[in-house]
């Protein structure tokens, strides 16, 4: 509630460095930020629950206490709300027993009314309370059953269990995608602040006060928003859980692959969390310049269909024969990576005048929502421009359909996007679809050829902010025979790429800004391209 307009200032690369004294040792920290971020910059982690770098500071968990030397002696202050000032003297638990005890006490209070049901909690393993307990707590339990726990939840949900304890609110259905566990909530206010300041749709609130405070929607309303699953990410405990991931997998069994979502031209940074060869969930990966810590439900839930309805791999000979000597229209879809585009360019060079490259989508281009969507379904549009490939000439192709003998679509579900607009393409006699899925275009084509999906390939894309971002391959491909599009296409061209990087090097020949770049020189947060078209 308090000061909801106070967004934390985060350090950047250009932050001025100031000298402060941490535990009587001089360190240089970013000067325009809060103490918590400054300490993080010099490698001192401060446990916190309510603070989130992309949410306004509410300062109510009191977990990030540090001692500050002030005019009235050493005072306990919260690191998340204390601005860095040159010369300030800070004491962390490393040197101050008072800070250590204060954090321990807060940790103990935090767990007074928290049910210790970690064995059945989906958040166990990535729970802030567990992490803080290992760091700041580890105290001997002093609570005894007689002291009891206070039921904090909606009074309408409470019941008395077999031990005579008031319980309730274990799985409150607060929205179509989210379940709330009122007992696990530690009232950190993060979800409320997310809905208020990021989603800009105040659907959640803290009702009640004292230790019967509980999270609630407004009476009769449901939590339903394009970004509502982000509250499960910001929730430090297992209070907010996503229905799709509930009881699916223990999080410590998941492997994480950092990659880019190719649903949208913002190129939201994501983690693909996978195990046993399938994706279990998609989580936002923090990138301050792109999607911060948020991804939309559309992006997040897209993975559910990645393993289904896949096309099988085929021998290349069939395609070569089908292409024959006729005139070829190559259509590249928005999810094509820079590597795929390099291969397409290579194929065009090989075929010479017989081939022409088209690009684009029949989907409508929306407007940015200011959170984590640019609204443009053509993910690599800037990459198309960079590679000198038209990104919006499908209408032209439909008009001139009769000129071509062969239609080769790469990652482009033209018939699925707009069957009416794509109808004209049926005039082309031989229609070859290179696609991950058995989609409408694959069904309409004369030859459908399975390739790897973007979640399974290594590659690069350029987002709408001209940021070159790296995709990594998650080992979740259902069929070992499937190959990435660039491999297939380059083989059609007769000069097969053996690795993604080889394709990327080739792309450097078409787009000079990419020349000389190595994959390692692209940071996990991307590389801003100079002189790009976008």
């Amino acid at each position: 509630m308090s000061n909801f307009y106070n967004m934390p200032k985060l350090p950047t690369e250009n932050s001025p460095k100031v000298e402060i004294f941490v535990d009587d040792k001089a360190v240089m920290v970013p000067g325009d930020t809060n103490l918590l971020e400054a300490l993080k910059a010099v490698g001192i982690e401060t446990p916190h629950v309510c603070y989130h770098p992309y949410l306004p500071v509410s300062g109510n968990c009191r977990q990030c206490l540090v001692e500050q030397e002030g005019p009235r002696g050493r005072m306990l202050v919260i690191a998340c709300y204390t601005p860095v000032a040159p010369g300030m003297k800070i004491y962390t638990p490393a040197s101050s027993a008072r800070v250590k005890n204060a954090r321990k006490a807060t940790q103990e209070f935090m767990l007074v009314n928290h049910p210790l049901d970690c064995p059945i909690c989906d958040k166990a393993g990535e729970c802030t309370l567990q992490e803080n307990y290992m760091e700041a707590g580890q105290n001997e339990g002093r609570m005894r059953p007689e002291y009891g726990k206070n039921y904090h939840g909606n009074p309408a949900h409470q019941f008395i269990d077999s031990k005579g304890q008031v319980r309730g609110g274990k799985h409150v259905d607060i929205g179509p995608r989210i379940l709330l566990d009122e007992e696990r909530c530690v009232q950190c206010d993060r979800c409320v602040r997310f809905m208020r300041t990021i989603a800009k749709d105040e659907q959640l609130q803290l009702a009640g006060r004292a230790d019967h405070t509980y999270i609630s929607t407004f009476p009769g309303e449901k939590l339903d928003h394009e970004y509502d699953l982000c509250v499960t990410d910001v929730c430090p405990t297992g209070a907010m859980t996503a229905k799709y991931f509930r009881f699916q997998k223990r999080v410590w069994l998941l492997s994480h692959t950092p990659t880019i979502s190719m649903d949208d031209s913002l190129g939201a940074n994501i983690w693909l969390d996978h195990a046993d060869g399938r994706i279990y969930r998609m989580m936002p990966r923090c990138n301050p310049e792109v999607n911060r810590s948020w991804i939309s439900n559309t992006t997040r839930l897209a993975f559910q269909t990645f393993g289904e309805n896949r096309l099988p791999a085929m021998g290349l000979k069939v395609i070569k024969e089908a292409m024959g000597e006729g005139k070829v229209a190559i259509v590249a879809g928005g999810a094509s990576t820079i590597e795929d585009l390099a291969a397409i360019k290579l194929l065009k060079e090989t075929l010479g005048d017989k081939a022409e490259i088209f690009g684009g989508t029949f989907k409508k281009v929306g407007s940015p929502d200011g959170i984590a969507m640019s609204g443009d379904p053509m993910a690599n549009r800037a990459g198309f421009k960079l590679m000198g490939i038209a990104d919006d000439n499908l209408a032209d192709l439909v008009k001139r359909a009769s000129e071509f003998n062969v239609l080769l679509t790469v990652n482009a579900d033209l018939f699925g996007e707009d069957a009416a607009a794509a109808k004209g393409l049926e005039k082309i006699a031989t229609r070859i679809a290179l696609s991950a899925f058995d989609d409408e275009t694959a069904k309409k084509s004369t030859l459908a050829f399975g390739i790897k999906h973007w979640s399974e390939v290594q590659g690069t894309m350029v987002n709408c902010n001209n940021l070159l971002q790296k995709l990594n391959a998650a080992p979740t491909c259902p069929d070992a025979e499937l190959r990435p599009a660039y491999e297939v296409i380059s083989e059609l061209a007769g000069k097969p790429f053996t690795s993604a990087f080889e394709a990327f090097k080739k792309a450097g020949e078409y787009a000079s800004v990419l020349a000389g770049l190595a994959y390692d020189s692209i940071k996990s947060t991307g590389k801003l391209l100079e002189g790009g078209n976008a």
Partner: protein
């Protein structure tokens, strides 16, 4: 009892709710050429010289508080009167507003002139219906008489006063929670800085003052500031309205100079302790540490003396307790009150006050164990200075001091449990159907 000058309670029982009576008693004499000829700085300096300190509990010098309000920011300056009297044992503002509402209005006009304010809000506790009625009646009369509204007394000065009914939350007596509540948000204290003097109500400079502070202004302006300062102690001037309650013969509201000995207040003003011998005194409302009878014998009622005795002057609400009471019962009542009134923001207060109350309940129910008191004392160690507002300390302080000063009372209750010497059983959860 020496006859003392009455600053705030002068008109009590004289029917001063009516503007005509109030004017006949010398009211609104300050709203004159003399006030409007004074510059803001002169007036603030005048108040500073009177040594008036805030009467709400913290005792911050009023003139200094006013001088913090920035000028020329392009934003309006609001005055908010804190009439959300929630502290246990305090009932002075209630009577002040009920008996003499015009003095509050007159004081507010003076404060408005000092701060260059256009509007003031009286945030009144919602349960004080007679007060609100009395205030609204007085406001209507003052508007009709031209003391409020546009062009007061023919000058270009315009000023409005609004009475806002709170919903009765204790925490809304904290100034930033009060401002949140006034704005229509949940009454929870804000993080500071920014302080309200810089960014308060609607992000504008806001000065929050107690009712009694404002009501002292007309007298100060009528007389010389040194005359007011002379009445109190060197660091805090003037008289104070004390509310004495508990086991005394005549509980009520009494005005006395600061620095009056505590026993004088109890014996001469309130008629002495009844029902037993004096056991303890809470000098400044329910949230302060109690003084034992021996300490009370030497204490004087002012900020410095009580601070030196590790308690506080607070709102001047003395609660006198005789020896028929067990302090654990009193502490349990406080536990109930503060655990219910915690706003639910900071973890230590939200979870800790409730836990302390549950432990106190066990002790009172005769289920206490040895070590419970030590546990409570240790838990209150996690309260000190770590929360946004001092509500957690309002329970933590009493728990720590009651259990130190009146340990025998706790032991008496714990001894009622025949098994008190055994340690509490730690329940172990065995693998059940889930494993």
């Amino acid at each position: 009892m020496a006859e003392c000058v009455k600053v705030c309670t002068e008109n009590f029982g004289k029917g001063a709710q009516d503007i005509e009576v109030y004017k006949k008693l010398g009211g609104y004499a300050n709203i004159s050429e003399r006030l409007f000829n004074m510059s803001q700085f002169e007036l603030i300096d005048y108040v500073q010289r009177s040594n008036l300190r805030g009467r709400g509990g913290a005792g911050f010098p009023t003139g200094m508080k006013w001088s913090f309000v920035p000028r020329g920011t392009g934003k309006p300056v609001y005055i908010v009167v804190n009439a959300d009297e929630g502290e246990g044992g305090t009932f002075k503002d209630h009577f002040l507003m009920l008996e003499d509402p015009h003095r509050l209005i007159e004081g507010l006009i003076i404060a408005a002139w000092a701060l260059g304010s256009r509007a003031a809000y009286i945030y009144c506790r919602g349960e004080f219906l007679p007060c609100i009625e009395s205030l609204n009646k007085a406001l209507n009369q003052a508007y009709a008489a031209g003391y409020l509204g546009e062009n007061i007394c023919g000058t270009k000065f315009c000023f409005d006063i609004f009475v806002h009914r709170g919903a009765g939350a204790y925490i809304c007596g904290e100034e930033t929670a009060l401002i949140n509540s006034l704005e229509g948000q949940k009454g929870q204290p804000r993080l500071k800085p920014p302080f309200p003097a810089v960014s308060g109500a609607w992000k504008s400079p806001t000065c929050v003052n107690n009712v009694e502070t404002i009501m002292a202004l007309p007298w100060i302006l009528q007389h010389d500031p040194s005359e007011y300062a002379k009445m109190g102690t060197p660091r805090a001037g003037g008289t104070k309205v004390f509310c004495i309650s508990g086991d005394v013969k005549n509980p009520g509201v009494y005005e006395a100079p600061l620095g009056t000995p505590m026993m004088t207040m109890i014996n001469e003003y309130a008629g002495g302790v009844v029902g037993g011998k004096l056991k303890a005194v809470l000098p400044g409302g329910s949230s302060c540490a109690p003084l034992t009878a021996e300490e009370a014998a030497v204490a004087t009622m002012d900020y410095e003396c009580l601070a030196s005795m590790k308690t506080m002057f607070g709102s001047g609400a003395m609660i006198v307790i005789n020896d028929t009471h067990n302090m654990v019962d009193l502490l349990n009542v406080l536990g109930n009150f503060y655990s219910h009134e915690s706003c639910g923001q900071c973890t230590p207060c939200r979870e800790g006050t409730g836990l302390l109350h549950r432990i106190l309940n066990l002790i009172v129910d005769g289920k206490g164990h040895d070590g419970d008191v030590e546990l409570m004392q240790s838990l209150t160690g996690g309260f000190g200075g770590v929360t946004i507002c001092p509500l957690s300390v309002s329970l933590g302080g009493p728990v720590a001091s009651y259990s130190t000063k009146f340990r025998a009372d706790f032991d008496e209750y714990i001894a009622k449990n025949p098994d008190h010497a055994k340690p509490r059983v730690q329940e172990t959860y065995r693998p059940g159907i889930f494993w």
